[in-house]
Symmetry: C2
Subunit: 216 residues, 2 copies
C-alpha cells in the first residue's frame, strides 16, 4: 500500500465510514452491503467499493462487509490503534469549548497540553488540565513529542504560531483560525473554520427563496 | 452554468481561494498568478486554473487574475452578496462558543436564532441574543424563513433534530455532532466534527515516531 497513490478525498471519507460502521455495530449489525453503507453516509455504493479497493478486498461480491472486520481495518489504516496526544493552542471561547468536549478521549485523542498567551488564563484549570504559558510551548512540545495541534488562535497570529508549531515537531494541524495557514508539504493541515464551511453551503442555496431579515 | 456539473470538491475549494484572495487584497495586491494563489492555498496552479474554468475565464494566460474581480466573482458564485441568517441549535459549550464568535457577521452570516432544550438556558442572553425554546423551533424557523442551521446538539438526538430542521425548511446544515446525519438529497450537510477531522490527519502521521505518553 503506497500512501502516495491514495487520493486525500478517499482518506477524508474513511473516518465518516468508520462513524457509520460504529453506529451499525452499536445496533448489533454483523454485515453491511456497500449500498447500505453508502446510503448511511450519502455516497454511492460504487464509491464505497472503489474507496475500499485502494486498501485491498474487504468482502466478497454479494455477501457484504463484515462490520467488525471493516472497522478494525479502517482503524488500522488511519493509525487509530493508539491514543493520540493533542495540544490545543489558544484557549479562547472555542479552545475552552474543545477542552470541555468529552468526545476526544472516547475516540482515541487526549488533550495533554493547552496553552495561551493570556496571563489570566495561564495556571488555571479547564476540565482538569492546567493551561500553560505559550512561551513554554517549545519545551513542552519537545518533551511530550506531540505531532497533532489544534489551532484556535486569532487569525492575525495563526501563521506565526503555525510556523513555530512546525519547527517544534508538529506534523498535523487542525486549524480553526479563519485564515489560510501554510506549512511545508510534509505537514498536514485541515481547515475547520466554520465560515469557510458555511460559504461552501450557500452555493447550494437558492437566493430567490430568501425573504431577507425584514420578517424578523 | 449548470450547478449539477461542478464537482462538490471544486465548490469546497472556492471559499479557501476567497480567503487567500482577501488576504492579498488587504496586502494591497491587484493581480495574482495561478501559481502564487496555488502556493498560498497549497494546491497546484493547474488545479486553480481548472477549478476556475468551470465558471468561465477569469484572466488571460500569462497576465494573472485581477484580485478584486476574482473576489467578486467567487462571492457571486457562492451567493455571498447578501447576509445569510443562521440558527444555532444546541447551546452547550460549543454552541455558546460559536455564539460568542465574532467572525460570522464580518463574513456574511448573522446568527438570528439560537435554541436549546435546557430550561436554565432558555431566556438567557449570549452575545445579545436571547436563547429560545427548542419547542418553538418550527414557529421561529417558519417566521424567519431560515435555510441554514448549525447543529451543536448531542449525538444521540442529532438525527431527530436534523429531521425536524429539514421539515421546517432548513436546506443546509453544518453538523458538529459526532454522528452521521442523513437528509434528503436537496439538503446539504457538512460534517465538522473535530474527531472525524483528527482521524483524517492521523493517517498521515508516523506511528513509529511516537514515543507514547510515558514521557509526559
Amino acid at each position: 500500500m503506497n500512501k502516495q497513490n491514495i487520493p486525500d478525498i478517499v482518506i477524508q471519507r474513511l473516518p465518516i465510514y468508520l462513524q457509520a460502521l460504529n453506529q451499525l455495530l452499536r445496533e448489533g449489525r454483523g454485515v453491511v452491503s456497500s449500498a447500505e453503507l453508502g446510503h448511511l453516509v450519502m455516497v454511492t455504493a460504487a464509491q464505497i467499493r472503489k474507496d475500499l479497493s485502494y486498501f485491498g478486498g474487504f468482502g466478497k461480491q454479494g455477501s457484504g462487509y463484515n462490520v467488525i472486520y471493516l472497522i478494525e481495518s479502517i482503524r488500522a489504516i488511519l493509525n487509530l490503534n493508539q491514543i493520540w496526544p493533542v495540544v490545543i493552542v489558544g484557549v479562547g471561547n472555542l479552545g475552552q469549548a474543545l477542552l470541555r468536549y468529552q468526545g476526544f478521549s472516547r475516540k482515541g485523542f487526549e488533550i495533554v497540553l493547552a496553552c495561551d498567551i493570556n496571563p489570566s488564563l495561564i495556571g488555571t484549570r479547564i476540565n482538569g488540565l492546567e493551561i500553560s504559558d505559550i512561551n513554554n510551548l517549545e519545551e513542552n512540545l519537545r518533551r511530550l513529542k506531540l505531532q497533532i495541534a489544534v489551532l484556535t488562535v486569532p487569525a492575525a497570529c495563526a501563521q506565526n504560531v503555525a510556523d513555530k508549531l512546525v519547527s517544534y515537531g508538529i506534523r498535523a494541524i487542525l486549524n480553526y483560525a479563519p485564515v489560510v495557514v501554510k506549512a511545508p508539504e510534509q505537514v498536514h493541515i485541515i481547515n475547520i473554520d466554520p465560515v469557510v464551511k458555511l460559504q461552501n453551503l450557500t452555493y447550494y442555496l437558492d437566493t430567490k427563496d430568501y425573504q431577507g431579515l425584514d420578517n424578523k
